[in-house]
């Protein structure tokens, strides 16, 4: 029998559902990757815009402003339930988490429906000139993240409503919230570049 020096860490907590969790950091870097992709898609848009003679082409009908403006308001409104659910996760308050997630799910589903209407009413397609390709590239990436993030919220809400709400739910709620903020941020960029910029 011999003795050796040890650093005892057994008193440390075993699960984290906040920013200290490994998967939180993993999600941040995943969003950095997706954000880089989005930023380069915007860079491609501006590159094509700079090299084109006319942008948008004369015969192209610009997207209507009404739906995207309503969507912008809707997205900004979702910040409230997202914040509440994230706070509820911090405080491990399951009933408040479920309530806010139900509201958030409904708002996100409305956003998906509005987005579908917006896309189907667009007066040009991806094969209409490089302008159509560049715009639809941005819209396509946004569609992907909007649908995935909404699906995630709905699944999490269903699981949390069925209970029992676990630490895994709290962590997933916070990560889902972060993803949703990210989706909102890029939508604002699309709103400015696709919907507003050609009008000024």
């Amino acid at each position: 029998m011999s003795a050796r020096a040890v650093l005892d860490v057994s008193a440390l907590p075993t699960a984290e559902h906040g920013r200290r969790a490994l998967v939180w950091l993993g999600q941040v870097w995943m969003l950095v990757i997706e954000g880089t992709m989005f930023a380069l898609a915007f860079a491609s848009y501006f590159y094509l815009r700079a090299t084109a003679d006319v942008w948008p082409p004369a015969n192209v009908e610009l997207p209507g402003l009404a739906i995207p403006t309503v969507m912008l308001a809707l997205f900004l409104a979702t910040i409230v339930p997202t914040r509440i659910s994230s706070r509820a996760a911090d405080e491990e308050d399951a009933p408040r988490l479920v309530r806010s997630m139900v509201v958030l799910s409904v708002l996100e589903l409305v956003a998906v429906a509005l987005w579908w209407v917006y896309l189907s009413r667009l007066g040009f397609r991806w094969y209409d000139y490089a302008y159509g390709s560049a715009v639809w590239l941005l819209l396509g990436i946004h569609t992907f993240h909007l649908v995935v993030s909404t699906a995630e919220t709905v699944v999490l809400t269903t699981l949390a409503a069925r209970g029992p709400v676990t630490r895994g739910h709290y962590l997933a709620t916070k990560i889902d919230g972060m993803y949703w903020y990210w989706v909102i941020g890029w939508f604002i960029a699309i709103y400015l570049v696709v919907d507003l910029l050609p009008r000024v």
Partner: protein, 645 residues
């Protein structure tokens, strides 16, 4: 939390008992299905390296075919079409299926050991990344054998790669190979960054991180910012070809040069993604075999970070022959010359370390010496072509072929071989033959230079790259014959390496824990390391922990040994933060890789492959994250308050 070290009694029986429990928790499942389920970073790292070396050999066979064709004017080994396919396959294989994956494999194997933890942060993602990589490689070669190989060069410039000029499926196959390999690289990058940020052992502050770990961190961050460019642009290329978008179609308002910008925004950092881990290996080898801490450690680390940053500011130097405005040309010339400074700083630090240490000349150190010589030549020719007027003359000639092989083989492959001779004894428990290693070294050093040095002169004499033949009156025959003859030496060296590797399994001397008297943590565990890496998780208090260890240096206790638990530390001060549970073996990463592959391949033939692929991927994704073991996992167990209720 700041834990106070305390002395506790220990005994051999207690240690054996603990080892048994750890093995039960961390061991990989057996059998073929078990091999598909394993999430051990060492098994996955080994697979990456072996698979990448296999692709390296295949790429070498393609190179040999090209050198046979070019050995004399008017040879008829390959037709023009075959030659185009083979140089495309060779370049794509070497860049996407060998060089980057082999460095990822080394990082996956080594980083957890070097930082003193038991696995990477996201073990199942790690397994998924490997399967995606190997399935992408198999798909690429099956397409090639079915006469659907790409023939548009490894950078697939538009408009050549658009469907008007390249009907058939070749460029689609190429673009989808990119999607496979970059997806794999990106997941590796995320897990390496998180592992380094949060799983370093107690006391391993950023200042004390091994330089290979620093190199891995810089590389992973570079992958995260560079690879999205190629994933995006290869997707845009496929959309131009399949669903009639017009990103690169000038007639419809697109721009062919946009492709070049996006490609090289990825493509130039790619070179450093290969080169920086190799620099990390060189630093580890130089330190160990000099028997002293590396000279100018902060300067070496700063140089890695500077190279990683500057690497994003050079991409236009690949495009000097296009319509780059003069100011842009000057800027990119300046950055291209500037980037030689941090590399120069590192080379001086290594020389100073060797100079002031007591160097032991072993095979790993010989490869480092070869690296310095070959890479400096490649760096100097790089400084030459950083200048726009000279580049315009030499663009697309064999001078460029010579330059980038000096950079990539010199800066990537030679340090890699040094690293393999250095770390294989850790991975297998057997030393490689020193004599065979020296044969390998000399055959490669001489053979490589015989192949590639004449190409500088061929380029200066005007021989363009990517021509399948040339006329006798060009006068290029003798130098081409010389270059082709050097291939024999390179092949001989490769055969010596493979034989030495196989023989070491049966005849190699036992390596023991630390055959090199090395300073870093991985040499403190057995060779090969157990599934749980360390029986006693070490702590550190210097950058060379095994050279400065005191008898009272504490080990970590209180991390559970009956489940897959690791210690998470804080980024800046490397003090304990919490204990986290890592995922165990699972078949679902493999199943997800299969369904992803189906989606990727389907989408080449039909755009519906994208949504169908997404739908196919949903069940394995859900199964992957399903809480199958709710009762054993504290993240998924009901909270105490609810259990009471």
């Amino acid at each position: 939390m700041t834990a106070v070290p305390t002395a506790v009694p220990t005994s051999h029986e207690e240690e054996l008992d603990r080892a048994r429990r750890l093995e039960a928790a961390w061991g990989s499942p057996h059998g073929l299905v078990g091999a598909l389920r394993t999430v051990d970073h060492k098994a996955i790292g080994r697979r990456y390296v072996l698979t990448a070396l296999t692709f390296f050999a295949i790429g070498g066979v393609l190179a040999t075919l090209m050198r046979l064709q070019l050995r004399q004017p008017g040879a008829h080994v390959l037709s023009a079409e075959q030659y185009n396919q083979i140089f495309t396959m060779h370049g794509s294989t070497m860049m996407f299926l060998f060089a980057v994956p082999v460095m990822e494999g080394m990082m996956i194997y080594l980083v957890p050991l070097l930082v003193g933890t038991r696995n990477v942060a996201f073990p199942r993602l790690n397994a998924f990344g490997y399967f995606i990589y190997v399935l992408g490689g198999i798909f690429f070669y099956v397409a090639f054998l079915l006469h659907a190989g790409p023939d548009v060069g490894w950078f697939a410039y538009t408009p050549l790669s658009l469907s008007r000029f390249s009907p058939g499926k070749g460029p689609d196959v190429w673009a989808q190979l990119i999607t496979f390999t970059e997806l794999s690289a990106l997941v590796v990058a995320v897990e390496i960054v998180v592992t380094i940020a949060r799983q370093r052992t107690v006391g391993m502050t950023p200042q004390r991180m091994p330089i290979f770990v620093w190199a891995s961190l810089v590389t992973a961050v570079m992958i995260i910012f560079a690879m999205p460019a190629i994933m995006l642009s290869s997707s845009m290329l496929i959309m131009d070809r399949l669903v009639n978008t017009h990103f690169f179609d000038v007639a419809q308002g697109g721009s062919a040069l946009l492709w070049q910008h996006l490609f090289w925004f990825f493509g130039h950092p790619e070179v450093y993604i290969i080169f920086i881990p190799a620099m990390g290996m060189v630093s580890e080898i130089v330190e160990t075999f000099s028997g002293r801490p590396i000279v100018g450690r902060p300067a070496v680390i700063a140089s890695l970070a500077a190279t990683g940053t500057l690497g994003f500011g050079l991409w236009v130097h690949h495009m000097f022959a296009t319509t780059v405005p003069p100011v842009g040309g000057s800027f990119f010339t300046a950055t291209s010359i500037l980037i030689s400074i941090p590399t120069g700083v590192q080379i001086f630090c290594w020389i100073a370390t060797l100079w002031t240490g007591r160097p032991r000349v072993t095979v790993p150190l010989l490869f480092v010496a070869a690296f310095i010589v070959v890479f400096v030549i490649g760096g100097l020719s790089g400084v030459m072509i950083a200048s726009v007027p000279l580049d315009l003359q030499l663009h697309d000639t064999f001078f460029i072929v010579a330059h980038f092989h000096y950079v990539l083989i010199g800066g990537g492959v030679l340090p890699l071989f040094g690293g393999l001779y250095y770390w294989i004894p850790k991975a297998t428990g057997r030393l490689l033959s020193e004599r065979a290693g020296r044969w390998h070294f000399w055959l490669w050093l001489i053979g490589f230079n015989v192949v590639f040095f004449p190409m500088h002169f061929l380029g200066l004499a005007g021989m363009p790259r990517r021509v399948y033949t040339y006329q006798p009156d060009t006068g290029w025959g003798p130098l081409n014959l010389l270059a082709s003859s050097g291939v024999l030496l390179v092949i001989a060296g490769a055969v010596v390496f493979v034989v030495a590797l196989l023989r070491s399994r049966t005849h190699g001397a036992a390596a023991g824990d630390d055959p090199w008297r090395a300073p870093s943590l991985e040499w403190g565990t057995s060779s090969p390391p157990p599934s749980y890496n360390y029986l006693d998780l070490p702590t550190v208090r210097s950058a060379v922990p095994r050279w400065t260890a005191h008898a009272d240096q504490p080990v970590i206790a209180g991390v559970r040994d009956d489940v897959r638990e690791v210690l998470v530390t804080r980024f800046a001060d490397a003090q304990p933060d919490h204990r986290a549970r890592l995922a165990g073996p699972s078949i679902w990463p493999f199943v997800l890789a299969i369904t992803t592959t189906v989606g990727f391949i389907w989408s080449i033939f039909d755009p519906w492959g994208v949504p169908i692929g997404l739908i196919l991927c949903a069940p394995p994704l859900i199964a992957w994250f399903w809480p199958w073991t709710r009762e054993r996992d504290p993240r998924r167990a009901p909270l105490a308050s609810e259990a009471a209720a």
